[in-house]
């Protein structure tokens, strides 16, 4: 393991949203990760961060950088997703009107994460929370 970072994301804190992704991007640039990989991690990380702010009761983003790949884990403390297949469908969202007016809630978050990560795993349990592990090859 070359680097590990744990960042907290609070529920509903839209003003701070994007700061965790920004930190991750800065660190990856310092570690000399290619701009192509940084772009993919930035997109997936921002979507994860926004999902935590919009939908979760709060959570963490964990970045772990190894020699050949890096992983991004998005973990929250609830409420959990009832139907994962539906949640993964592009365009499906439970976001409220206020959030949609801000341009969020397009229903593309999980879809974008899955699309940009080289490996994507999501588990969720109602009442317990959701955990997403994304892996990116460092090429």
């Amino acid at each position: 393991m070359r680097y590990k970072l744990i960042l907290d994301v609070k529920r509903g804190d839209f003003d701070a949203a994007g700061e965790a992704s920004r930190k991750i991007k800065d660190i990856l640039q310092q570690l000399g990760v290619s701009s192509k990989v940084i772009r993919k991690v930035s997109i997936a990380g921002y979507e994860g961060e926004m999902n935590l702010a919009i939908h979760s009761l709060g959570g963490k983003i964990i970045l772990e950088v190894g020699e050949e790949e890096l992983s991004l884990t998005i973990k929250d403390i609830g409420p959990g997703i009832d139907n994962l297949d539906l949640a993964m469908t592009a365009g499906w969202s439970t976001a409220d009107d206020k959030v949609r007016q801000m341009g969020f809630g397009a229903g593309m978050g999980l879809f974008n994460m899955n699309k940009h990560a080289d490996n994507f795993l999501i588990t969720s349990k109602i009442g317990a929370g959701t955990k997403i592990v994304m892996k990116f090859s460092l090429e």
Binding site: A17, G18, Y46, E47, A106
Partner: protein, 110 residues
């Protein structure tokens, strides 16, 4: 085309010119759904959006956009401007609509 070239046109005004406006606009993108923009906009673009809150700066910065253009006289939130100064993203306002902005960018060869 540089941001400064765009600002020579009277229709455009930069709200945070102190950060420097010499960035090169390589392409354009229009969109207000942030996830959609995240997934599809390229780096080095001028992004035209009617969203005016602080998160547009996060998106622009993560994607390494050249500038954000807010059309139709929409008022940019103060927190967005503060973040734009930190993140080095020029925020440009205009009374033109998004299509008219794109026409100008297109006529300039973008």
């Amino acid at each position: 085309m540089k941001v400064s070239d765009l600002l020579e046109k009277k229709e455009f005004k930069c709200l945070n010119p102190q950060i420097g406006v010499e960035g090169v606009i390589e392409s354009g993108y229009v969109g207000d759904l942030l996830s959609w923009v995240m997934a599809n906009a390229g780096s080095g673009c001028a992004w035209v959006t009617i969203q005016t809150h602080v998160n547009i700066i996060a998106v622009a910065s993560l994607l390494e956009m050249t500038c954000v253009i807010i059309p139709e006289g929409a008022e940019v939130e103060e927190s967005a401007l503060e973040r734009a100064i930190i993140e080095d993203i020029p925020v440009i306002i205009t009374n033109l609509n998004a299509y008219e902005v794109c026409k100008i960018l297109g006529n300039a060869g973008i």
